[in-house]
């Protein structure tokens, strides 16, 4: 196993809020090999977006970050601003959720594409322009030449997200972080964007992290999946193992609560009772305990640590793991 391209080591992010300090990310460890795709799944407020901002070092000013983010051998947390800046957009790129707000409304699409290219690659204007046109064509934008002079408000949501992807891919990044890339899009457009991301990743053997709340999105597109709850990674496994032989009750409950196309109408859904965790009131024990049907005494007392299961690379954080082949309690 070569050294991972990205290694998130014991990262925690704390945000001061009017209602007390909020631990958005609670000591997370994750790693990703070059060319592989990691899906990070969780409900809103579980810390998945804050984790991606920690990796990109785009945290709000007031946030406190601890731990290390090893990317390509460098710890981004301790990298001084100038070299961090040269790395972002060059080796590390991002696509945000809402295409309506991630492009500057008063700058042309050409400017926003070429400024990235000219910042990192020593290309003069004509060469940068040619490369921009080629990128727009690659992401499926019709008449890329004219598109350069247009403004974002003249394009549809799907078109804008393609432009954002073109910008992200403009300097052949080693890692692309896609933070809910299709949540704001309709289902038919979403399918096209996810296919585009998968195709470009294969062509450029680029590592990719897909962050989403939709288990369906990661099912078909990620090599491995990590499930987050209340700021922690509660389970991480190759996709097949996570969907078929999950050990963490939350993963099972989350999957069961989603209406499926093949279930008959009016069948009651096995909902997860109780309320989502309140980040400003962290619990001593496992944060899922109040809503977990398997919870026992021990779960209220201590936080379960990520332990590895029999399939290599399958980690879970639970005192009463389910679907264990040996059936012994961890």
């Amino acid at each position: 196993m070569t050294a991972p391209l990205l290694a998130i080591e014991d990262v925690a992010v704390e945000l001061p809020t009017p209602r007390g300090n909020l631990r958005a990310v609670d000591h997370v460890d994750l790693s990703l090999q070059a060319g592989r795709t990691l899906g990070i799944v969780g409900e809103s407020g579980c810390g998945k977006t804050m984790l991606s901002r920690a990796v990109l070092q785009l945290l709000p000013k007031k946030a406190k970050l601890t731990g290390r983010v090893m990317f390509d051998g460098e710890d981004l947390v301790r990298l001084e601003p100038e070299s961090l800046r040269r790395l972002r957009g060059r080796d590390l790129a991002v696509v945000f959720q809402d295409p309506m707000t991630s492009l500057n409304p008063v700058l042309t699409i050409g400017t926003q594409l070429m400024e990235t290219i000219q910042e990192h690659l020593e290309l003069d204007a004509p060469a940068a322009k040619a490369r921009s046109i080629e990128l727009l064509a690659a992401v499926g934008i019709p008449a890329p030449e004219q598109r350069l002079a247009q403004y974002p408000h003249q394009c549809s949501g799907g078109m804008r997200q393609r432009i954002a992807i073109a910008i992200a891919l403009s300097c052949e990044p080693k890692l692309l972080i896609a933070d809910e890339p299709t949540t704001a899009l309709d289902v038919t457009i979403q399918a096209q964007i996810l296919d585009l991301l998968a195709r470009e990743q294969r062509r450029r053997h680029m590592a990719m992290i897909i962050i989403t709340h939709d288990l369906g999105v990661v099912a078909g597109r990620a090599d491995e999946v990590a499930v987050m709850y209340a700021g922690r990674v509660v389970e991480r496994a190759p996709t097949q193992a996570l969907f078929k032989r999950m050990h963490m009750p939350y993963t099972e409950a989350l999957l069961a609560a989603i209406p499926k196309l093949d279930t008959a109408p009016h069948t009651p859904l096995p909902a997860i009772s109780g309320r989502p965790p309140d980040p400003t009131r962290p619990l001593k024990g496992c944060s899922f305990a109040p809503r977990c049907s398997y919870a026992g005494g021990r779960c209220q007392e201590a936080k379960p640590v990520l332990t590895s299961a029999e399939v290599s690379g399958h980690l879970y954080a639970c005192f009463h793991p389910i679907r264990m082949t040996e059936g012994i309690e961890a």
């Binding site: 289902v187 996810l194 296919d195 369906g216 099912a219 078909g220 209406p259 109408p265 859904l269 909902a271």
Partner: protein
């Protein structure tokens, strides 16, 4: 006007409804001639992508947005012809639930007053009676009246606010509720709770629902029949099982094929380059889906396809249906 198989007179009968509104100096053709029926006790799912006009249709049915032409018959009465007091009395029998639960509650009023508001408007003077009704519906939706009634909306989560909205819609014992994307803004775990609650309330209060959403799986979970809408027009109406098993309209097939399935064994089909939906300001001639439909031909651009029966209880507006 096409005839449904012999069925009891529908509770709601929308007949060739057209809704347009101005945007700057242009006209948006939000709903262009939609006809549908909802039988008493039935849940009709209405599904479509954003901008297809499904929310506009929902609001036009409740006369919150005046239709340009066409009629909305509710229990034999023509709502489109009603005005003032008559319409206001009619409103007690029909209710609306919104997508954003927090924005649906006045931030400055207590929950007890919000849920009692429909009773006050309906002219129920006796405060004790109102309090009893409020407590009853709050408990019905799984909230503890004593804890909840005196608090303000910002003290509750999205899921709880939606429960309060459902309570408010039930307090007058309505017959028909339009649910406009009631769970789209909620998290997966809370979404299931609210869907189950809606099903339970429907059974307990004998409701008829028009359930509007963009997520087909959610619509299938609650609907007896499903209507699929595209750019202001219905392209298919069928019983849920039939629609998902054997879609007749190419657009329904495209929608079904595009949905990400939470199962790694189901390989996502390569999306056929289906382009982008055109703008409702300048919809294409003839069948509005033709610009993205692999089966489109000359006839599709010339002639608007009528909604006709292609299988028992299944209707599609397509010159070349799949079934």
């Amino acid at each position: 006007m096409m005839q449904l198989a012999a069925r009891p007179a529908p509770l709601l009968n929308v007949d060739n409804l057209v809704v347009e509104y101005g945007l700057g100096n242009k006209i948006v053709h939000a709903v262009s001639g939609v006809s549908l029926q909802v039988a008493r006790g039935e849940t009709l799912g209405l599904v479509g992508e954003s901008g297809c006009g499904k929310s506009t249709l929902g609001r036009a049915v409740l006369q919150l947005r005046r239709a340009k032409s066409g009629r909305v018959m509710f229990d034999g009465e023509d709502l489109t012809a009603m005005e003032g007091e008559a319409l206001r009395r009619m409103r007690r029998r029909v209710q609306l639930i919104f997508q954003d639960p927090i924005a649906s509650l006045n931030p400055r009023r207590r929950i007890g007053d919000i849920v009692a508001e429909p009773l006050i408007i309906a002219g129920i003077k006796d405060a004790a009676e109102r309090k009893r009704r409020v407590h009853e519906v709050l408990s019905a939706v799984g909230l503890d009246p004593d804890l909840v009634a005196t608090r303000l909306p910002h003290e509750f989560s999205g899921g709880q606010c939606q429960r309060i909205c459902i309570a408010r819609s039930l307090v007058l014992n309505p017959e028909f509720i339009v649910c406009d994307e009631p769970v789209s803004a909620l998290d997966v775990s809370i979404r299931a709770q609210i869907l189950n609650l809606l099903e339970e309330m429907k059974a307990r209060f004998g409701l008829t629902l028009l359930f509007i959403a963009h997520d087909l799986a959610v619509v299938k979970a609650v609907s007896d029949r499903v209507a699929v809408m595209y750019l202001g027009r219905l392209c298919e109406v069928a019983p849920s099982e039939q629609l998902f098993a054997r879609p007749a309209h190419p657009y329904t097939a495209l929608l079904l094929q595009a949905i990400p399935v939470p199962d790694p064994d189901v390989r996502p089909a390569e999306s056929v380059a289906a382009g982008e939906p055109p703008s409702p300001i300048a919809p294409p001639s003839g069948c509005r889906f033709r610009t993205r439909c692999p089966r489109a031909d000359q006839r599709c651009s010339a002639e608007i396809p009528e909604l006709r029966q292609v299988a028992p209880g299944q209707f599609a507006a397509c010159h070349h249906p799949l079934a």
